[in-house]
Assembly symmetry: C2
Homo-oligomer: 417 residues x 2
């Protein structure tokens, strides 16, 4: 027990000491080793084509056409079914991706460096709302947008970030929490603050006035732009806390639309999985629970560092958006999450809770003792390939993952005796 | 009584129906009639050089040098004392100005048009924090900044706003309230949202890359940039509600560092004044109440439309900044203000109060009946000319103004019998 407490203290301290900085944007194939032709990284724990849900299959086909590996969606599907693509979880390559989480060689990825520990993580650039690849969309509009991102947005951000010497992220999150963001389903403030900080550098490094206007408009028109930055930051902060013997702190939560997976510090890179749950939430006009796919994405990394559902109190507007109730209900979510965490992040405070820090460091023992499953704010995808987002809601991490993880950590401790 | 109720309903309705749009930025002398050489508009009700407080005198001397009417501060002071300048309240020329509120011919003013009623209002561009003209600063750094504003920032904003076809402001305020701004002492969210909206237009209309970088940096580095926009908006919204016979709704509150003044709809352009109070608040290191000047500025126009101190619940971070307590105290300020107003603005809601609208339409009868004076969030200037801001706090409108105003409205009603 004492060993666990001390290991957990160490894990929490590593998370809190992190100094995440967005340093650059580069094509994934140039910075992620092993990401070559026909290799597709996806969200969640490991999964093959046979068990992939509809939207993930749709995204796989779309990205294969975008990369030029298949001439159309039909050919892509045939190739996938015949084992023509190699699939790996993003997390195995230092990356994270929202929803279907497709990461492939030609897409630009944002690079976050944790300057305290020197590790780096990667995430693609957010596509905005509507029919988008991450929700399983794969039509011409979706692929054109990916080309705009790769051809214009990525290179412009790269030049600006290099000129700026990187963009420290902790202070942006601190401001975002005071401005109603929880950094999962609401990133409007952080996106605006980020744009405000980067705009002069974008202008100073612009090679073409037309492209500058397109980049500034692209960020302006996407309230969720910052989500992918927050995700890469989340992984950059939790990776150094992984692999501390005996620690029962969660270092990653993710889902692939079929399985939910968690990693725990004491068991390093092992995944503990269980069938993923269906989000409860609100649907866009014309859609209902009948259309919904079970939850997916690596985005629950933000809950792992105390944001998203854990910081719901900071973002009463989100509570309405995800169907979780009123402002007072929002505060209650954050209070409940503090029952399953080992500490608070005093750099990230919530004005509505008289500036209490966000609850940080999920302890699987506390989850199992209280029966309180971590809450995750999430988008809801249509279960069929090619449709896209149909709503937003909240979902709980399945307790079964935590039971298995506890057995896993117990096993490592038993080994030492 | 029935006449008053009906007049007040009409006044409130005019405020709520407003459609304020920031349409352009132009040199004040070109858009404000009568603003020529040696004419200086100031904040608050009418006042002459003899009764002006220290910081306002400092600002007068500074702006006279900036305009080239005096070769240095000493000459400017001599000219002022000999009656060389003509002083008028901003409000008499459709304008508003923060703190000392200097408006003169060569300074660019932002133009807000109320598209519902066609009226226009003006306010200079915010200078940022530190030693600035509006707090009585008048050194070389202050005047250089005014030159940057007139030479670079103003023209760039003008071109961008014209290209954008104007920037509607009500929706920006709505977002700001959900992001922790109250639009008086906290404008960080609205400034970021404004920059996000205008940045593509600034880029599209830029004639010089270096100037574009300077403008984007100027806005980035000034958390209070949006304040002056909110002020012009406030006057654009309240002016059409002024002059409704029998109405006891306040249409302007302002202060010149010596007197506090209010206008009430039923008595039109008449000012009801009383000695201004000293703000209670927090001081920057090295300063104390001993250094403070009594309150000043036209900025209380934002409280007149339900923002600032009236929207304190939206901005718990402000409560700390102005020394007004915790998040729970912040909510209490807004609740109290709803006791002296005749309605709420359902377009501008506060998430922390489960999306209640901001209290709008101060009724002088309710102020006197309850004894609750309107609360104003404010900056604190040093009482000596040339020093600048020394703190921030809250101040109450003097009840004496409201007593006099009630007599004034009663007089107009008596006339009709």
């Amino acid at each position: 027990m004492e060993k666990i407490e001390s290991a957990n203290k160490q894990a929490l301290s590593k998370i809190l000491q992190a100094e995440p900085v967005l340093i650059d944007v580069q094509p994934a194939g140039e910075v992620i080793e092993g990401l070559g032709k026909n290799v597709i990284l996806h969200s969640g724990p490991p999964i093959g084509w046979d068990r992939m849900c509809g939207p993930m299959r749709g995204a796989v086909c779309g990205i294969a056409v975008f990369e030029g590996w298949a001439k159309d969606l039909t050919e892509a599907e045939t190739m996938a079914a015949r084992g023509g693509f190699t699939f790996h979880p993003n997390h195995h390559f230092g990356a994270v991706g929202p929803m279907t989480g497709m990461t492939t060689m030609s897409q630009p990825v944002m690079i976050v460096e944790n300057r305290k520990f020197g590790n780096r993580t990667y995430c693609t650039i957010n596509e905005g709302l509507g029919t988008v690849l991450r929700f399983g969309g794969n039509n011409a509009e979706v692929l054109d947008r990916l080309r705009l991102i790769a051809g214009v947005v990525g290179p412009a951000l790269s030049a600006a970030l290099r000129a700026a010497g990187g963009m420290p992220l902790k202070s942006i999150i601190a401001r975002g929490l005071a401005m109603g963001d929880e950094m999962h389903q609401r990133n409007v403030a952080c996106t605006a603050v980020f744009l405000r900080e980067i705009a002069p550098h974008l202008a100073a490094t612009a090679t073409d006035a037309g492209k500058l206007v397109r980049v500034l408009s692209y960020i302006r028109d996407n309230d969720q732009f910052f989500l992918n930055i927050a995700m890469a930051m989340g992984k950059a902060m939790t990776d150094p806390a992984n692999g501390i013997p005996g620690s029962t702190i969660v270092t990653a939560m993710n889902r692939n639309g079929t399985d939910f997976g968690i990693r725990v510090s004491g068991t390093g890179e092992r995944w503990f999985t269980a069938p993923v749950e269906m989000p409860k939430g609100l649907y866009f006009p014309g859609y209902s629970e009948q259309d919904a796919n079970p939850d997916m994405g690596d985005s629950a990394i933000v809950e792992t560092i105390g944001l998203g559902g854990f910081a719901m109190a900071a973002a009463p507007a989100v509570a309405g958006f995800v169907g979780a109730g009123t402002a007072s209900d929002a505060a209650q979510f954050t209070r409940r999450m503090s029952e399953i965490t080992v500490g608070r992040n005093s750099d990230w405070t919530i004005p509505n809770l008289d500036f209490a820090g966000v609850p940080t460091g999920i302890d699987i023992r506390k989850v199992l003792r209280t029966g309180i499953a971590p809450v995750i704010n999430t988008g809801i995808a249509h279960k069929k390939p090619g449709v896209g987002q149909v709503g937003a809601g909240i979902v709980r991490a399945p307790l079964r993952c935590f039971e298995r993880a506890l057995e896993g950590v117990a096993g490592t401790l038993a080994d030492q005796i």
